[in-house]
Symmetry: C2
Subunit: 260 residues, 2 copies
DNA sequence: CAGTGGTCTAGACCACTGC
DNA sequence: CAGTGGTCTAGACCACTGA
């Protein structure tokens, strides 16, 4: 047997998807239908479908069917938040999405005080367990969940500023911090890829098989770390772009692209 | 039934792993053993193991057993290749890994001429289907596969340079291009996360359930795009770092970290 | 209600590993 | 050779969806 049966079934479906016979959003043949078509048992069909789901190609929906996932991506210019500029990340998101002709939303805004985990403490240069202010929100593009964002501030930085209030700051948090003596001069991003937790998968609307892209952004004043922002993106619908040095010879690619 | 059986089995194993009872590299109980222990059928046990494998927590090995994966990560300072500097990416890799006290290798070096795919053509600002020079290699850290790299050059840039020879260039490709009138002044990185193809999974030694981190780096001279480098990393053992602006207030984190 | 995917069982044979 | 995971079958009942 050159190829396992379930892989043959998976390959056949994969081919129908990549050829365009099955468009994004289209429903796959049902499991009984695939049994008949390939003359295999249901478990074998399910193995094939599980393989495709793990690649993020299809998405099963309880009681309705299995569907081809839409993998339209959105590109973020992550190096746009200039080191010393007052341009805010929040405005940058809204502006970038609007320019791309799509509709941004920021929802579920919250402020709370927590103790710093070891990961947060190390990046904010504070002691583990010390209190930090957390401001979180969730972002949607065209009504579809897109990212989860949490920003951590050392307590003494946030103290006495509007960062302590559980509401949005119209002119942006970077400006608010600058007004209180914490001017941002640069930041460091750490980007990694992993599989989502159950909670993340539920909010981002991704099943198993779709990784998340996680970015830790630590912002600095000339003296110290002043903010840590953790962004979790649906991995298969987000690209992060960084421009280093002079890239004027490069024309800006379209912010919305179709992956192969 | 509050929780499906296979998830209960998965949770029990997950708990043993996170508590440290099962260390990285340790072998899980065999499938028949898990059947007895939880009083479930083999297929249920396998569903549980598949769930853990999809999270990248464990890795089955044909004929030997199922093992807890080692998830030590390596961090790359992706903004280290200064726009106008002659510092080479190749040297940067070797230097960074060596500094971290680990052992870098670059193997399977190849040069070939291909026609540009649409993705390559768009970034290199050449016509789709036009010939491009491809130089590829694979990288290992401490003997473990870590990344796949392919660099694409427009034919007229590579023509008449050592880029056309299927061997390593000791002083680096950036210097070689600068000597022939293509001085690099900046680059643009696009970072995304996706599930690996079969080929990638096989080389990177990751099973299903471990995403890859893919980086497109387009390098520019003052006039044009001169190189496109595509890096594919094992997602759960790689972090990319970018430093924008002044981050002297941030102390350099250790390049090797243990994820939670 | 019929049709879909979700869960589960019992049993079979195969391919690979290491002793 | 025994023990491991890889593949496959046949059949059962459940939970959810939408007409």
């Amino acid at each position: 047997m050159p190829q396992p049966l379930y892989r043959q079934v998976a390959d056949a479906l994969r081919q129908e998807i990549s050829s365009g016979e099955l468009q994004p959003g289209a429903q796959l043949p049902s499991e009984p239908e695939l049994e008949k078509r390939h003359g295999v048992s249901r478990n074998t069909v399910r193995l094939a479908l599980a393989a495709l789901a793990n690649e993020g190609l299809v998405e099963p929906r309880q009681g309705r069917g299995t569907f081809v996932r839409d993998r339209t991506t959105f590109m973020v210019l992550a190096s746009a938040e200039e080191g010393g500029s007052a341009r805010d990340d929040r405005d940058a998101f809204v502006a970038a999405v609007t320019v791309a002709g799509r509709n941004p939303e920021q929802v579920d805004f919250r402020m709370e005080v927590r103790t710093a985990s070891s990961e947060v403490a190390a990046r904010l240069q504070v002691d583990e367990g010390s209190p930090v202010v957390v401001r979180s929100m969730r972002r949607l593009i065209d009504g579809r969940p897109w990212s989860i964002q949490e920003s951590f501030y050392p307590m003494d930085v946030a103290q006495g500023t509007r960062l302590m209030s559980p509401t949005d700051i119209p002119y942006g948090t970077i400006t608010e911090m600058a007004r209180h003596g914490h001017a941002q001069v640069g930041y460091r991003d750490e980007v990694l890829s992993r599989m989502p937790t159950h909670t993340e998968a539920a909010f981002l609307g991704v099943g198993t098989g779709v990784p998340v892209l996680e970015m830790f952004r630590t912002a600095y004043s000339a003296q110290r770390a002043i903010r840590l922002t953790i962004n979790v993106y649906a991995g298969d619908s987000t690209q992060l772009a960084y421009e280093i040095g002079d890239v004027t010879a490069g024309q800006e690619p379209s912010p919305t692209t179709e992956p192969s």
